[in-house]
């Protein structure tokens, strides 16, 4: 399943504010292995994502999110639930 391009590009924009500017970020980029997102950084990123999309992401789903696309799909699902 492919993630919505608009959601993806917004996430990439947010990630660029929190990780090394030099790193190229794509849908398949692994948050931990490629971007070194640790638990502390993940909290900052999630808070920014939640504000950007006006949603709340439960921490229960975090263990299933490995890539940028996983995060985008999760957000897509939460936005659909809200509608």
């Amino acid at each position: 399943m492919k993630a919505d391009e608009r959601i993806l590009s917004k996430i990439v924009e947010i990630l660029h504010q929190h990780v090394s500017k030099k790193t190229a970020i794509r849908a398949e980029t692994n948050l931990e292995a490629d971007l070194s997102v640790d638990s502390l950084k993940s909290m900052e990123i999630l808070a920014a994502v939640e504000d950007a999309f006006d949603i709340s992401i439960p921490i229960n789903v975090l263990s299933d999110i490995e890539t940028v696309e996983d995060l985008a799909l999760e957000i897509e699902g939460l936005l659909k639930e809200q509608q």
Binding site: D38, S39, L40, M43, A47, E50, D51, D54, I55, S56, I57, P58, I59, N60
Partner: protein, 393 residues
Amino acid sequence: MGLFNKFQKTRESIETLRHYSNSFFRIVIDEVISGTEAVINGRPTILAGTNNYLGMPQRKECIEAACQAIMEQGTGTTGSRMANGTYSIHVELEQAMSRFLHKKHTIVFTTGYSANLSVLSTVVGPKDIVILDADCHASIYDGCRLGGVQVYRFRHNDMADLGKRIERLSKGGANILIAVEGLYSMLGDRAPLREIVRLKTRYGAYLLVDEAHSLGVLGEKGRGLAEEAGVEDDVDFVIGTFSKSLGSVGGYCSSNHKELELLRFTSRPYVFTASSSPANIAAARKAIEIIEREPELRRRLWENANQLFNRLQEMSFVLGPAPSPIIPVRFQEIPQAFEAWNGLLENGVYVNIVLPPASPDGTALLRCSLSASHSPDQVEKIAKAFKKIKHLA
């Protein structure tokens, strides 16, 4: 893939830590000299990282109560509270805790960890929501995970962040429980409980406060942060442990909700664990009596905390936000923190070293905890040992 391949990263981390300090893995208390001094690696060492806030493990009355309980009732109960593991002393301690905390109901658990596990895995479920402070203890996270409740974090002590989240989440109509701690175990700072109560009331949420580090430490009568903040009636569930200021082992939850009693039938960590040993229960019961009648213990604890905080502040260490019996000394780099920790140990002072991700904001901490039993001279020795490692901070 072998079964143990998943531990490769752990192995590497341990090797890295070993490179910084071999002592880190060899901290064994060879001999207890007093509540504030022990022999470590063959050397008398001042203990400044033990959570022994009031000196209860060494109090003669507590030791005698524990010994008497063993002599009369044995070393263990060999059963769950649900089966043969509820003795009259368990019930009496529950009644004593209810009286002390001004709550109608109390359940005593085998550990503080299992108190959080029991309550949070049962009181809330998959259709409910928990909003917790990001710096909450692992037992709060684990309790939520066991019960399958939806969990949302807010930034540590950030009321704007909590307000934003509770407003957003309250629109869905689910029950919301806010979980915070009285005194946070790493930074030693208090939850802004009055503001949290204001939000709880506004959005019709429930509130759980873990007073593990604040029981006996905060409040005029030692009932914790809720007493100090004047909001005891607004706290739905007070959780705590007997293993810190009470110097025993065990945990409790007190509440005015009569449904708390139903946890005795529905909480798996309560039903499927052996109950606390008679010695632990008797020691905790005696310690509560002492806390009630000796407010001077709290005064001495705070004098020691203020003395060390002020001395370290004079030396320009970067500390926690305010004086507290828990004083974190911050280090930006892990190697320097280890060198400082080793230096303190060589100078006869033991403190806790806390590394990311266990430390709250990515820095390494040397965590001091004070006791009412520390003498002013010992506090000064701790300060002098820190002075010797100041160049590393």
